[in-house]
């Protein structure tokens, strides 16, 4: 059996067409997706907002406000991102003039009562461009918030100055006004590009069906002269089939791991820190693909029909794994919601779901479910293949 295993590996490796497709396909497709999507998350990130600040006497006297501007211009301790990118001018006239070059959202002045005022660049509001409005809104929110706090503290100091004798008063005053805390519903921050990479890996897994088909073509008595010759050897079908399919699977797995490592470390695509579990998914996915290929290879039909069936299956089932874009993803999700049985029997969807659940879910329930379904599929394909191949004598060759 070891000899059959080794020679099957050699024949598969030296069959350049199969190997190039198996190795190159995930690399090419993931590279394509990377070039398309690597900036997609960047577009949702807010760059520091460019504003002009009139640093006149009023501003210098408004210590609390200048402190606030300084704090917002400093990188955040969590994400290293500053909220504001202030540019200081000496007068409102200068600021207004600078605004004309279009590089700033607006300018801020501070009046004698230490109240800030914001003058927006009218060109950066309204219209169909929503993002400038959002940015202006953020600046306004900051200033509104500051004004409210300033007024509250000012009023408290005017009417109840004794309260400030208590060193903890300011903390308590501001404590009840904590902002909304951002929490993630998922185990990791969502990323719209991830589904594509997961779908590519799932798709690539099932491209490996060709190895299974190829292996069976050389085993089945009525599929090729090679099959007939091997059938006449002094080995049982099992002793020929097991190492042949094992070799096909091992090579599929190796090709897919190259793709996985390329995606993970070449493009830095996150798998939720569950790389070990991802290897298990790839291993099981490629096993199902190899056995499904073997089952197709064992069907009593022409080689062309088998290749066609494989291509149709892979392309069709990939629709529901979200490989072809947002429409495909929505369709897949809709089918999963309304016709869950169809998703359960879609091995490509199950592989993609397994990656997805590893990244997003904080428990492994969905992951194990996908693995269990893939395991059942592998068993069904193996039994089907055996049933097709158990016949050793044929009515015709």
């Amino acid at each position: 059996m070891a000899t059959t295993f080794i020679y099957t590996i050699k024949t598969l490796i030296r069959e350049k067409t199969n190997l190039i497709w198996a190795v190159a396909f995930p690399l090419v497709l993931s590279t394509l997706f990377f070039s398309m999507f690597h900036n997609i998350d960047e577009t949702y990130r807010l760059d520091p907002l460019p504003v002009l600040v009139v640093a006149d006497d009023n501003y210098q006297q408004a210590k609390s406000f200048s402190t606030l501007v300084g704090a917002l211009a400093a990188p955040d301790a969590n994400d290293g991102q500053a909220l504001l990118a202030p540019t200081f001018t000496s007068s409102a006239a200068e600021a207004s003039e600078s605004l004309q070059n279009g590089a700033y959202l607006g300018y801020i002045t501070v009046d004698e009562q230490q109240q800030p005022h914001y003058f927006m660049d009218s060109r950066k509001t309204g219209g169909l461009d929503i993002l400038p409005d959002t940015k202006q809104g953020i600046v306004l929110s900051i200033l509104d918030r500051y004004s409210q706090d300033y007024q509250m503290i000012y009023k408290a100091a005017s009417e109840h100055p004794q309260l400030f004798a208590d060193p903890g008063f300011m903390d308590r005053l501001l404590d009840g006004q904590s902002f909304t805390t951002q929490v993630s519903a998922t185990n990791n921050p969502p990323s719209s590009a991830l589904r594509y990479y997961y779908a590519v890996l799932a798709f690539s897994c099932f491209q490996m069906m060709s190895f299974g088909i190829y292996a069976i073509r050389n085993l089945r008595t009525n599929a090729s002269p090679m099959g007939a010759r091997r059938c006449l050897g002094g080995q049982s079908l099992g002793r020929s089939m097991i190492p042949t399919l094992l070799a096909s699977w091992v090579l599929s797995l190796a090709c897919l791991l190259i793709g996985f490592l390329y995606i993970r470390f070449g493009f830095g695509v996150s798998f939720g820190g569950q790389e070990g579990a991802c290897v298990a998914v790839i291993a099981l996915g490629s096993l199902v693909a190899t056995l499904l290929g073997a089952l197709i290879g064992a069907l009593p039909t022409s080689e062309g029909a088998k290749a066609g069936l494989m291509a149709t299956l892979v392309c069709l089932l990939s629709v529901f794994s979200g490989l072809y874009g947002p429409g495909s993803q929505q369709l897949g999700d809709m089918v999963a919601k309304n016709l869950p049985a169809l998703s359960l029997v879609n091995p490509i969807r199950q592989v993609a779901d397994a990656f997805y659940s590893l990244y997003y879910y904080d428990s492994l329930g969905h992951f194990w479910l996908s693995l269990a379904i893939l395991g059942i599929m592998a068993a069904v394909c193996a039994i089907g293949c055996l049933l097709c191949l158990r016949k050793q004598r044929y009515r015709s060759l």
Binding site: Y7, A228, Y394
Partner: protein, 319 residues
């Protein structure tokens, strides 16, 4: 010892009867030739023997035991050289032979010896690392043979192993088959080349329409048909048209001889087909001399297996 026993084998493809109560018995040590036109049932018979094809009726015994698809012990004693080349294009010569040998011989060390012997046997020593696509047609045929015989089987099926090879390769293959036989292997050989079969086979079966029509040694087969010796005589040219008369006289004369089956005259060439008889040529020449008819060159050709084959199976074209 009977190495193959087939009794009353019937194989039908729907209405078509591919094997019609076909029986065969082959002794150990024979080189047995299986002849027949295309579609006569040769390959079907072999595939039934090897249990690749199911059949409707009959008994098959190999090595004295009933053959079934799962008799791997019997299969291990058989070597197959299929008509269609069945080697891996991705493996080189040594790897191909080693792979097919491994289907019968699990031990690597033993296999290594056998592979080397097979390579030497078919004369592929200089091509060990060559893959099939780098080999000529004759070398691939030899590789195909090496893959089938490397495990040194007792019974070898060779299905038209010399198709599309040059004369040198064919000669090498035929010599190899005879050496295999000399080493103790029983050979079942199918071919369309009558001279090959005549050259190497100890017994021959001619089959057609799924039936065994004749079986025996080549001499026995030749004795079964009406055609025997063929004689061509170049009659001497006479002086002009008047000379036509002695030629015609010669034709009439040979037609009266007891072993003449047919006789014809083509210009001055007299062609005679003889039926059975051991002294046909001397009888003809004696008759011509007796009639004072002059002749030049004389050709005599004994009957060939091809004559036998055509007489038994007919001269009509087949698919």
């Amino acid at each position: 010892m009977k190495i193959i026993e087939v009794e009353d084998l019937v194989k039908r493809y729907k209405e078509l009867v591919a094997l019609d109560h076909f029986s065969l018995s082959i002794e150990s040590g024979e080189i047995f030739g299986l002849l027949g036109p295309n579609g006569s049932g040769k390959t079907t018979a072999i595939n039934c023997l090897l249990q690749l094809l199911s059949f409707d009726n009959g008994n098959i015994k190999l090595f004295g035991e009933a053959m079934t698809p799962s008799r791997y012990d019997l299969k291990r004693r058989i070597g197959i050289v299929p008509q269609n080349i069945a080697v891996f294009s991705q493996l080189n010569v040594t790897e191909n032979i080693d792979f097919f040998c491994s289907l019968y011989v699990p031990k690597k060390a033993r296999r290594h010896e056998l592979v080397e012997q097979a390579i030497e046997f078919v004369g592929l020593q200089d091509y060990r690392r060559f893959r099939p696509r780098k080999l000529s047609g004759g070398l691939i045929r030899r590789l195909n043979i090496a893959c089938g015989i490397a495990h040194q089987p007792e019974l070898i099926f060779l299905d038209e192993p010399t198709v599309a090879v040059d004369a040198q390769s064919r000669n090498s293959i035929l010599e190899g088959i005879q050496r295999l036989n000399a080493q103790g292997s029983t050979i079942i050989y199918t071919s369309h080349y009558m001279e090959e079969v005549e050259q190497i086979c100890t017994r021959v079966m001619i089959m057609d329409h799924g039936r065994a029509l004749a079986c025996g040694t080549t001499n026995e087969l030749k004795g079964m048909v009406s055609v025997n010796e063929r004689i061509e005589i170049e009659l001497a040219d006479g002086p002009g048209p008047a000379a036509a008369s002695p030629h015609q006289q010669a034709l009439e004369l040979v037609r009266t001889l007891p072993h003449t089956a047919t006789a014809s005259l083509d210009h001055n060439i007299l062609r005679i087909s003889c039926s059975h008889g051991s002294h046909n040529l001397s009888e003809v020449l004696e008759a011509l001399r007796g009639a004072d008819i002059a002749y030049g060159r004389v050709y005599s050709e004994p009957p060939t297996l091809n004559d036998v084959f055509l007489e038994i199976t007919g001269k009509g074209l087949r698919d």
